[in-house]
């Protein structure tokens, strides 16, 4: 077979619609069970968003939270999240719920949180009374997901002054 890059981009645009729509709806075909509902409150999502913005500026406007919510609604093996790579003994949903719980605890009833200071403490595992998986692991994963939405897309490449050079343009994830 011999396809040019241009031919593949054209073909990719046509075939990309179905999986993108299915993924957004959390209904992709799978032999695995769909994941349970995500037990993260709006306030906790706001905390995650603030933390991510402190680590990766631009992740809020790039739509990180919507990206995470869509990906967590997928079966784990179809999630496009960094946590999928790491072979952790928790599902992606449990991972992010764990982060949400620890951020709530770190906030400790305060009306505001210094997200930049918190991320620095997380990176060095120096957050007081942190429970469960290491704070630095959460930092790494959230940073990676933030980088993905800011720099890991065709728009992100443009931001960096790089030609994306797709063989097949990827479906939108944001």
């Amino acid at each position: 077979m011999s396809f040019t890059r241009r031919q593949f981009i054209q073909r990719g645009a046509a075939v990309a619609v179905a999986p993108a729509v299915l993924a957004a709806a959390g209904k992709t075909a799978s032999s695995h069970a769909n994941p349970p509902a995500i037990a993260i409150t709006p306030a906790q999502w706001s905390l995650i968003e603030a933390l991510a913005e402190a680590i990766v500026p631009g992740s809020r406007s790039a739509g990180l939270i919507a990206f995470l919510q869509r990906q967590l609604a997928n079966p784990p093996e179809q999630a496009l999240l960094m946590v999928r790579y790491l072979g952790l003994p928790v599902t992606p949903i449990a991972f992010y719920q764990g982060l949400a719980e620890q951020l709530s605890a770190a906030q400790d009833g305060s009306a505001t949180v210094d997200a930049y200071a918190l991320q620095a403490q997380m990176a060095t595992d120096s957050v007081a009374n942190w429970q469960g998986l290491p704070a630095s692991l959460y930092h790494f994963v959230l940073r990676s997901d933030g980088c993905d939405v800011v720099y890991g897309t065709p728009a992100g490449s443009k931001l960096l002054g790089l030609d994306y050079l797709a063989h097949i343009a990827p479906p939108e994830v944001l």
Binding site: M1, S2, F3, R5, F8, R11, G12, V15, A16, P19, A29, S30, S31, H32, A33, A54, I55, V56, P57, G58, P76, E77, Q78, A79, L80, L81, M82, R84, Y85, L86, G87, P89, Y116, Q119, A120, A123, F140, R143, S144, C147, D148, Y151, G152, T153, G156, S157, L160, G161, L162, Y164, L165, A166, H167, I168, A169, P170, P171, V173
Partner: protein
């Protein structure tokens, strides 16, 4: 409402898995006129779904039952395994050096690990045949360390700036580099086009320039009549009354129905961890007690640096552009160091992902991160060493006692590296930093030590007391069970294993097709 009864079919050869080794077995058997069915646990992959994206590339990595990992050097099962038709071959980087003759006799020569029951000379014809089948680009004359073998059928890939820059550091230190041998087309080969050097190998190669199974052996197998059944998870291997032969396999199909497939021969090529898991769960082929043992993973670490001039880091090949085997020999480098290692130089890097540019400096956040990304995506360079692992019986795949959704026991992978290997990788790390300094990088840095490739668990050997399978991968205990893939390796060497596991599969398939 009708009740669907389990069906029972038969074929000549049932193959568990559809990765590179499985696909080669299938192609050889189907082309010989045998009826072949491949049972793949993951989904079907198609070329037009291989999106150029490091995010979408994650779907090609392991998505089956989780593997618990323990030890001081985890094998990285998700990252190092495949999921879906083509298996790990769908995201492999197609770096195809051969093992060295010395890798076949590490126990006899050095007292470490296990020896192979065959020599390099016995495997060489199969390397050559696979090379001719799928095409390799490279320059054999510049690889002065290369063992005997046919010349590469294609010239080497062009070099991009980062490799030219890093190569000056090797030259400054009196070291030699050569074009990386790659199963990627530098010119059209057997109907497949040339590479476009856009650095998307990890996301699969939809144009077919990289020899992933969809365009090589799996394509040949299906063209010759082999049937690929995806989302088909083998749960049981059926023994006959003697215990020395298999009748076939049972599996869950895509709809969850239990199916039985009878077969004259069964090929187990489900990946390193899964091969051991299935044998252990079925208490099969384990008279030696060695199933799951001698698990290996190449210790690997990347070196990074920012050059003063543009380095074109996002272009080229994910696996790299140059290779150096100057440190392959001697294997005993010092009293406290043992093992070979190779340098792979100039990997194409995308902005994000586990091996992407952003994660070369996971310590940077905030405004500094954006500044770093803008500079590094223009000027970073990188290389990685791949070190030999010592086959240790205590490093093993075992069952956890927990069950997956199909009622099958989950696996645990325990892997530690020895103090001699740790000393080796420390020395290699220091050498890498020195090479980058010699190349003009003011402040090079390195990444974490990671596990690259997963090998062992069903080692081949001379007899049933000291190994799981014979030199062809045929079980010592079960006459019609053929094991294939990296799980057969008795020693790891320090090279990327896909070429070798294909050569072994070619040798095994030849034996299977002439076996009674």
């Amino acid at each position: 409402m009708s009740t669907q009864l389990p069906t029972q079919e038969s074929c000549d050869i049932a193959i568990i898995g559809s990765g590179p080794a499985a696909a080669l077995y299938a192609a050889r058997a189907a082309e010989a006129g045998r009826s072949v069915v491949l049972l793949e646990a993951g989904p079907e992959r198609r070329l037009e779904q291989l999106y150029s994206s490091q995010l979408w590339a994650r779907q090609l990595k392991w998505g089956g039952s989780p593997v618990e990992e323990q030890g001081n050097h985890k094998v990285g099962h998700v990252f190092n395994s495949g999921w879906g038709s083509g298996g790990g071959g769908m995201h492999h980087y197609a770096v195809y050096p051969r093992l060295q003759p010395s890798d076949f006799s590490v126990r006899a020569d050095h007292g470490h690990g296990l020896d192979w029951p065959i020599s390099y000379a016995q495997l060489r014809p199969h390397y050559d045949r696979v090379q001719a089948d799928i095409g390799i680009s490279g320059d054999a004359t510049q690889e002065h360390w290369r063992p005997p073998g046919d010349d590469y059928p294609m010239p080497p890939m062009p070099l991009f700036a980062q490799s030219r820059l890093i190569a000056t550091g090797f030259a400054q230190r009196g070291m030699h580099t050569a074009p990386l041998p790659l199963a990627i087309n530098s010119r059209p080969y057997k109907g497949r086009p040339s590479c476009q050097f856009d650095g998307w190998c990890d996301a699969g190669c939809p144009i077919g320039a990289l020899a992933n199974p969809l365009v090589t052996y799996l394509a040949a197998a299906t063209a010759a009549g082999a049937e690929l059944r995806c989302e088909s998870t083998v749960t049981e291997v059926i023994k006959d009354g003697t215990g020395h032969r298999l009748q076939g396999v049972r599996y869950r199909d895509a709809s969850g129905q239990r199916q039985t497939l009878l077969a004259n021969q069964v090929v187990l090529a489900a990946g390193t961890i899964e091969n051991s898991r299935l044998l252990l769960a079925n208490q099969l082929a384990n008279s030696s007690g060695l199933v799951g043992s001698h698990l290996m993973s190449h210790p690997a670490r990347s070196i990074y640096g920012l050059f003063d001039q543009p380095s074109e880091p996002t272009l080229g090949i994910t696996g790299g552009q140059l290779i150096c085997h100057d440190r392959y020999h001697p294997k005993r480098k010092a009293d406290d160091q043992y093992g070979s290692y190779q340098w792979l130089i100039g990997q194409a890097m995308k902005p994000t992902d586990l091996l992407g540019i952003a994660n070369t400096r996971p310590d940077i956040a905030g405004a500094q991160l954006d500044s770093f990304m803008r500079e590094a995506t223009q000027k970073v360079g990188n290389m990685v060493f791949v070190a030999e692992d010592i086959a240790n019986p205590d490093n093993r795949v075992e069952l956890t006692g927990q069950l997956d959704q199909h009622g099958q026991p989950l696996a645990r992978a325990v892997h530690n590296i020895s103090s001699q290997t740790q000393a080796l990788v420390q020395a290699a790390t220091q050498e890498g930093l020195d090479i980058f300094r010699a190349a003009g990088v003011a402040e090079p840095w390195h990444g974490p030590l990671i596990g690259m490739h997963i090998l062992g668990g069903t080692p081949i050997g001379q007899d049933a007391a000291s190994s799981v399978a014979d030199s062809h991968g045929r079980s010592h205990d079960i006459d019609n069970l053929w094991i294939a893939g990296g799980s057969l390796f008795p020693s790891s060497g320090a090279v990327n294993p896909t070429f070798t596991l294909l050569a072994l599969a070619d040798r095994g398939a030849n034996a299977m097709l002439t076996a009674r």
